[in-house]
Symmetry: none
Subunit: 199 residues, 2 copies
DNA sequence: TATCTAATTAGATATTTATTAAATTAAATA
DNA sequence: TATTTAATTTAATAAATATCTAATTAGATA
């Protein structure tokens, strides 16, 4: 029954250590030892919490040799443009009242670092959070509601970067756009959800 | 610190009795005795849970003589347009109650009208509410968590209707599924945020 | 093979919390 | 005033859970 899923979901987020884990992971993947160190708990405690977060699909895991790297589940980022995610993205280690301005500064800094002065994209950041800022900055220049052909999208992206195929794929993967029958449209939710999440 | 607020918020929603209370209150205000009766707990338990919901501003109270009526907090309604609230409201808007079977009849009626006896879709309803019922009924037959190629999705849909392209687009548009890089997956939220499946 | 490292499991403990019965409070009414 | 009704508080209990230490597992490497 879906009631249990709702309760499990909120239980997963109803613990300060787990929220802190998510905040740390929002900055990039980390393994158990490092999480334990940063949160001042033992690795066993991390295992315990990771299990809870995994059960509700909030994190992913990747194994490299005998180290397991945890990361935020993209789903979580995409579908939770609410206060919790805002906290996870803003709060972090800095002071709390600076968060709003701080985040805008971060965003401006990312844009400054990854775009040339005449608006071309130098390269796509590998860090998820920065990548989303870059993609958002590009997609925001599309006309909302308009349908684009694949060629139009390619031409549009080429204004910013030659590798239009990669960026077009990122739009779809991160749901900045939908594609159907070779026609591309912006995700309508994009207009507010993404902004809430990132700004 | 803001972290505590977030944790408290999720703790408040991390209990089945409290979620049920909110679902009941979404239908209109109720007093403690009635809530206790409907939820099969004692009034003392309602007092306990009401305190938790009040602490996180999820409910309001109104006194009339010596009866206290609880209701959902407007703030909660307006500022929590997330899956949990949507579920709480959806269940009410459809005249649905956890103990009530009326919504199942509505769904069965739609399914009877739009599907043939051997499970084929006659046509896609134009009315949104009915369309969602139909789409839900189809998508529920997919394996949760499995990744499907475009061809697999097409073949799957063709079991129900020839116009797989339209239906596939509807899946994406209404976010019953995600597509990433030619691979389709069910929206994980589907598991609990949308209507419960028939079967 | 033996050893090292990261992660998990098992067991124990302390804390939180959901629930109830019983006592108490607060307000209305006969 | 005495009674009734709804809600709360109190005290007790049971269940869940967060955390730790110690032991164990799984992989990689010397």
């Amino acid at each position: 029954m879906q009631l249990d899923k709702i309760v499990s979901y909120h239980k997963a987020l109803a613990d300060p250590t787990r929220i802190k884990m998510l905040i740390l992971l929002a900055d990039g993947e980390l393994n158990g030892q490092v999480l334990a160190e940063k949160l001042s708990v033992t690795p066993a405690t991390i295992t315990h919490h990771a299990a809870k977060l995994r059960e509700t699909s909030l994190i992913n895991e990747r194994r490299d040799k005998n180290t397991i790297y945890f990361s935020l589940n993209d789903y979580f980022i995409k579908n939770n443009a609410n206060a919790t995610v805002q906290l996870i993205y803003r709060s972090v280690k800095e002071g709390e009242n600076m968060m709003d301005e701080k985040h805008i500064l971060v965003k401006q800094s990312v844009i400054r670092n990854f775009f040339t002065t005449d608006g071309k994209l130098k390269s796509l950041p590998s860090q998820l959070k920065k990548k989303l800022i870059v993609l958002e900055n590009i997609v925001a220049k599309l006309e909302y509601g308009r349908k684009y052909s694949e060629k139009e999208i390619n031409d549009f992206i080429k204004q910013f970067h030659d590798d239009f195929a990669t960026i077009r794929r990122e739009f779809i993967m991160h749901q900045f756009m939908f594609r159907e029958n070779e026609i591309y449209v912006m995700n309508p939710q994009e207009m507010w959800a993404r902004w809430e999440t990132l700004s």
